[in-house]
Symmetry: C2
Subunit: 110 residues, 2 copies
DNA sequence: ATCGTATATCGTCGATCTACGATAGAAATC
DNA sequence: GATTTCTATCGTAGATCGACGATATACGAT
């Protein structure tokens, strides 16, 4: 693993994989959506929204924050999370690039 | 896990997470790109392209096939893999939907 | 200072992932 | 039929994930 990841793939590929991995759990997608839907930036309201323990939600939030997809501003005793628009835009771009390159021109595909 | 995944999230969320999870490894992104770049649908050429053992590549191919992102036609002794355009299009749509919904309107975001 | 609320972190456990070598299966060729 | 080539699968080992309860930390309020 150590050998492969770092040496063989471009940093863009690694970055995209990291983002995709962060989105690779239903709870984290739901968290992103909840963050965006609510008027207020969420904090522990997510815990009420999802059937997960507070520790688990905090873990998922950390995973999203680690790859930059969300931000957390602390607001007194509570923390206000938001989608990070610029990171999401970059992700969007890289994703578009991936998609546009994924046509297949081989013989066996009609 | 059993309780959460099946009951609490929409099937679209679960599907999107599964796709994202499949893209959540640099090798699998590289495989998708290689499949698309090469004129011929790839098979074991991917093994030469990547610094991974044949068994590992086969495993990654299976992961991508399991979520429908690629297809494999057997062509004599070899197998010809291609990106699955219709699945990728669906993924693209769902992703667009996710992105467009992810603006933040909370007070703390300027 | 103390209490109460809100989050984060720790420790743990079972499940899954990732990688590999070894082996089995399928199909063309000899 | 035997051989070769290509791919899939098995078995395994270590790493990471996902979930949780318990605990620590931060901070406003009393």
């Amino acid at each position: 693993m150590a050998t492969t990841t770092a040496e063989a793939f471009t940093s863009e590929t690694i970055q995209l994989a990291a983002w995709a991995k962060a989105l690779g759990h239903p709870a984290r997608i739901a968290i992103l959506q909840t963050l965006a839907e609510r008027q207020t930036c969420l904090c522990g309201e997510i815990v009420e929204e999802l059937p997960l323990a507070q520790a688990t939600v905090s873990q998922h939030l950390k995973a999203l924050k680690d790859v930059g997809l969300i931000e957390g501003h602390s607001d007194g005793p509570r923390v206000c999370y938001c989608p990070n628009r610029s990171a999401l835009n970059r992700l969007h771009e890289v994703f578009e690039g991936l998609f546009s390159g994924l046509n297949c021109s081989c013989a066996c595909c009609s």
